[in-house]
């Protein structure tokens, strides 16, 4: 297999890496974290100006037709810099849903501003009881004259506080956990009846819960056919998982590098602690997990944009499981090898560790994906 990047991919990687290195120093990130949006609007604008916000969209829609591998390169660098911008949620996940389900009118209205970086989207799919099950939707949409009325509650909507438009799943018919009857709506965050409770997540980015009380959504803001959104939700979650795996790889690479540097620097008993074999073994175990996870992230990137199939779903579930396991292992080992400093707010590693643990709990944890893998293996 040829893993060599093309010249264009190499340049893309170099551009994002340099941009992140220049804009996302530890103190700068701290400043962005404490700012009102919880990320850098300037950095987001720069992503738009450089065309990076348009990478995941087809050329027919004014994007650059980026593949899963292109998305992987961007996400890895954003992960390495612990970037707080909701690129994954807005451009890859929400953008993918919009592109897959949107009508010509909706695409013409929203994609140009999404690609330029002027519009940021957020995806509101999870509910308190849903526990990663996309079909477990209790938020209801009732038919009214000229549109729909949405009522219910959505939780942990990352980037939902700053989004210009929210993609909300709601049930237009059927009972909770029915495969049929789930629809996706474009909801204006300023709409009457919608309130948001904003909070920071433990790993940095801000999120919010949505409370919907008879929020009126026009027919023109229904994405796709009513009740038919589940297949697209599953497919696009797969693309988001591939991107998330890449983000984790960037963060894990940085965590390993920080740990290695620390082992070579910290002196104990008159020599660097990296001279002790027991610690060397731990470091090697971390790198082994990272290599395994990197292979799976590449596999996920390669299948992310393939047509939907059981095989694609199985590979993505496997990737998420392996990457999640590696992320937690590396985060924990890195802290152990650092000792107390690995937990301090003022040191970058602590933030990587938190991010890596939290990534495991977004878009399905390891248990969820292991059981999904087992089911798919059985049905294959």
């Amino acid at each position: 297999m040829d893993f060599k990047l093309t010249e264009e991919q190499q340049m893309l990687q170099d551009t994002v890496a340099r941009l992140v290195r220049d804009s996302y120093g530890f103190e700068q990130r701290e400043h962005f974290y404490r700012s009102e949006p919880g990320f850098s609007r300037e950095f987001w604008q720069q992503l738009g100006e450089l065309g990076l916000c348009g990478m995941p969209f087809s050329e027919a829609h004014g994007g650059f037709g980026g593949s899963g591998v292109d998305n992987m390169l961007i996400m890895t660098e954003l992960g390495r810099g612990l970037c707080l911008e909701p690129y994954l949620q807005s451009q890859i996940h929400a953008g993918g849903l919009l592109q897959q389900l949107g009508s010509v009118e909706q695409l013409e209205r929203l994609l140009p501003v999404l690609i330029s970086g002027e519009l940021q989207l957020a995806v509101a799919l999870e509910e308190r009881q849903s526990h990663y099950q996309l079909l477990d939707v209790q938020t209801r949409a009732e038919r009214v004259d000229g549109g729909w009325e949405l009522s219910g509650r959505k939780v942990v909507v990352i980037g939902g506080h700053s989004a210009g438009m929210l993609l909300v799943s709601a049930r237009t018919r059927g009972e909770a956990r029915d495969e049929q009857g789930i629809s996706l709506f474009l909801v204006d965050p300023q709409a009457e009846g919608l309130s948001r409770k904003v909070y920071p997540t433990i790993d940095g980015p801000k999120a919010c819960d949505l409370f919907l009380e008879r929020v009126l959504v026009r027919d023109t803001d229904l994405l796709g056919e009513p009740g038919q959104a589940l297949a697209a939700l599953r497919y696009q979650q797969g693309r988001a998982i591939a991107a998330q795996c890449a983000e984790a790889i960037g963060s894990m690479q940085e965590a390993c590098q920080l740990t290695l540097d620390y082992l070579k620097t910290r002196q104990q008993f008159g020599k660097p602690i990296g001279k002790f074999q027991a610690l060397q073994h731990r470091m090697v175990d971390m790198r082994t997990e990272l290599e395994l996870a990197t292979s799976m992230a590449i596999l996920a990137a390669c299948v992310a944009d393939q047509a939907d199939s059981l095989e694609r779903s199985r590979r993505l579930a496997a990737a998420k499981f392996i990457v999640t396991r590696a992320a937690r292992f590396i985060a924990e080992q890195a802290i152990q090898l650092h000792g107390g400093i690995g937990m301090t707010w003022e040191y970058n590693l602590a933030h990587h560790a938190k991010r890596l643990v939290m990534l495991s709990h977004q878009l399905g944890d390891d248990d969820h994906h292991l059981s999904a893998y087992a089911e798919l293996l059985h049905s294959a």
């Binding site: 010249e7 340049m11 450089l50």
Partner: protein, 249 residues
Amino acid sequence: MKILVAVKRVVDYNVKVRVKADGSGVDLANVKMAMNPFCEIAVEEAVRLKEKGIASEVVVVSIGSSAAQEQLRTALALGADRAVLVESNDELGPLAVAKLLKAVVDKEQPQLVILGKQAIDSDNNQTGQMLAALCGFAQGTFASRVEVAGDQLNVTREIDGGLQTVALKLPAIVTTDLRLNEPRYASLPNIMKAKKKPLDVVTPDALGVSTASTVKVLKVEAPAARSAGIKVGSVAELVEKLKNEAKVI
């Protein structure tokens, strides 16, 4: 005005280089390579002159293995119009490079040649000056500001203890210092456009230049590791140590 910019493929400045065990050079296996940072500044300056309408064409040239095409593509993505690679797998010293660039200058006839003041791999800081001598052009080295005024070029140079501004008659050679500008990022549309821009490959033989080296590297070694410092108890002790141990006051 046509501008020629020379760029070099070097080890990425973020990489911690390692000396080979036999001391014959730096280990380049699986090491990330990039455009020399001073050359990036040179490309940026040329592209800015083009954007101001002063330059009509920006041609980038690199000398090295076929892998140097990556750096030429990067320069094209930053805004250069076309590229020339002088393909050679030999280890080339500054004089050989200057001779090859002279041949390219003769062919392209640029009014301005911009180079980095030095490459971060060998730190020679010679090629620009040698090229100016070979071409008989005026030179403004270590430039922190470049202004075109008619058929004259005003170059502010960073020199020991201050700045010096020189006026050069065109055609001229400029070598860039770090403070000349801040290179832009290659945007996605420009990365896509870069692959359609022309990139010619020539050989030293075709240019009629002999690249035989006059310098032989005998040994390469890493700098000595910094030894641990000490804490002094008082100012008096510090002064005493500076006077008697370090003998600097």
